[in-house]
């Protein structure tokens, strides 16, 4: 009964509903995009009514928000933060810089395509994305979670060697603990 496939399906539906309604965000202020987070959270756009709430530490967070460009220096910290988060976890790439480098497309010290280093579930386009588009990005993530399609963390685990190789190409002195989940 407990390991029955249908009962597991019901449990999954309930859990996905709860995960969708309660998204705790770790807004990692890497770039200029962080300036759009306060308006999203405060009175005018009020993300809390959708259950989106700030989390203080990676241990408590569900969503890692990469707000804007990532320099090669911060990439190391972002990876460390992402690997400290607990499953299920999601990544939202915020702004054009995370998609193709944006206005930093020819910069020597920013990474261009975030998806090569961390598994991104939802991209929010724009430079800057307005709070409306941030909210629509959260709505998209909620849809994906409800359908059980937001499985970036699983992708990361499955293709860890590929991600690690990409990360180590950017970070020359790799002194990080090995996580084996």
């Amino acid at each position: 009964m407990i390991n029955d496939k249908n009962s597991q399906k019901i449990v999954d539906i309930i859990q996905n509903w709860a995960r969708k309604q309660s998204i705790w965000v770790l807004a990692y202020g890497t770039g200029c995009g962080a300036i759009e987070i306060p308006p999203t959270m405060t009175s005018r756009y009020d993300a809390e009514r959708l259950g989106v709430r700030g989390a203080a530490t990676p241990r408590q967070a569900d969503v890692l928000l990469i707000t804007g460009y990532l320099t090669t220096k911060t990439l190391k910290r972002v990876i460390r933060v992402y690997e400290q988060m607990q499953d299920p976890k999601y990544v939202i790439g915020f702004g054009s810089c995370t998609i193709n480098g944006g206005m930093y497309y020819d910069s020597y010290n920013t990474i261009k395509v975030l998806d090569k280093y961390l598994p991104v579930d939802v991209y929010i386009n724009g430079c800057m994305p307005r709070p409306e588009s941030v909210l629509s990005g959260f709505g998209k993530l909620q849809e994906l979670i409800a359908d059980g399609k937001a499985n970036g963390a699983q992708k990361y685990k499955d293709n860890l060697d590929w991600y690690r190789a990409n990360q180590k190409r950017i970070i020359p002195n790799w002194v990080m603990p090995d996580y084996n989940w």
Partner: protein, 303 residues
């Protein structure tokens, strides 16, 4: 009626009621805070959804044995407090474990949980946790003094150390202790502001400053445990205040009304106040609240 099974059933039922009521109050406080800030705010049942999500998260954090025991300690302390506090008058519905001297026991057991949590937080090795623990213990030194003074004043005035006896006194005289010993009530309410750790006294959790303080290494199921123990503890404390100062409650509806009225005091005070620094908080508690506590003791001795 007096069989052990009846008592166990009462304990389970009162725990469930405390959990639901405490979580709903926390959700309502989020809603009211949002309305004060001119936001729509989350639905009042948002905390239940959060709890469900936290419970369904995986927890793969290991820092040592005490880290796993910390949330358990705080949960045990909350449940023991709840077991001591009589929920309704005359022991109707929820027979809890009252005995002579339970007021003194309560003073000890309410400090036990935070101390256990402090041990657990210390082992995580997170600097934010360590700072949060030191702040929490300093704040506890602050608000425990007026709180103990208020309770000692009550004990001296009525020559009893039992909560049930104090409720009896109110039932016989027909006036609430809130009016017959007002200074003790004022001191206890001012101490409660620190006990609830809402906004000027949220120096322990201190979001954005300490990254949620002692709980910063606890995610998933541990955070669920801490959240539900907070809800149970809030309900137990509010019921204790209603029992001691507002004559208890005859049924659940009256209890909910009275506890929510008490709960509004720290919450609304918190919504409009910015955070104190640690030394400001302690200076606050050792100022007027302690003065009222002294007045309460003088009142108890001389009247």
């Amino acid at each position: 009626m007096d069989s052990i099974w009846y008592k166990i059933l009462g304990a389970v039922v009162s725990f469930i009621v405390a959990f639901i009521v405490g979580m709903t109050y926390m959700g309502l406080s989020r809603k009211i805070t949002a309305r004060v800030q001119n936001r729509k705010g989350p639905p009042f049942y948002q905390n239940f959804i959060d709890a469900m999500k936290l419970y369904s998260k995986s927890t793969a954090i290991h820092h040592g044995l005490m880290q796993h025991f910390g949330p358990a300690f705080i949960m045990v302390s909350s449940i023991m407090t709840l077991m001591i506090v009589p929920v309704l008058n005359d022991g109707k519905w929820f027979p809890n474990l009252n005995f002579d001297g339970d007021l003194i026991f309560l003073l000890y057991i309410m400090v036990f949980g935070p101390l256990g949590m402090a041990l657990g937080a210390g082992q995580t090795g997170n600097p934010n946790s360590a700072i949060g623990v030191t702040r929490g213990l300093s704040q506890m030194v602050g608000f425990e003094i007026p709180w103990v003074m208020a309770l000692v004043a009550l004990m001296m005035q009525f020559k009893t150390t039992s909560i049930i006896d104090l409720m009896e006194v109110q039932a016989q005289s027909g006036t609430w202790l809130m009016f017959s010993s007002p200074f003790a009530f004022i001191a206890a309410v001012l101490a409660m502001l620190g006990m609830f750790r809402y906004s000027p006294f949220d120096i322990v959790g201190a979001p954005t400053e300490l990254a949620s303080g002692p709980v910063s290494e606890n995610g998933g199921k541990y955070l669920f445990t801490l959240m539900s123990s907070g809800a149970v503890f809030a309900f137990a404390k509010l019921t204790l205040y209603v029992d001691l100062f507002m004559g208890g409650a005859d049924n659940l509806i009256v209890l909910l009304l009275k506890t929510f009225a008490i709960y509004l005091i720290p919450m609304l005070y918190g919504v409009v106040s910015p955070r104190y620094r640690t030394e400001q908080a302690i200076r606050y508690f050792w100022g007027w609240p302690t003065f009222f506590g002294l007045l309460a003791i003088l009142h108890a001795v001389f009247f």
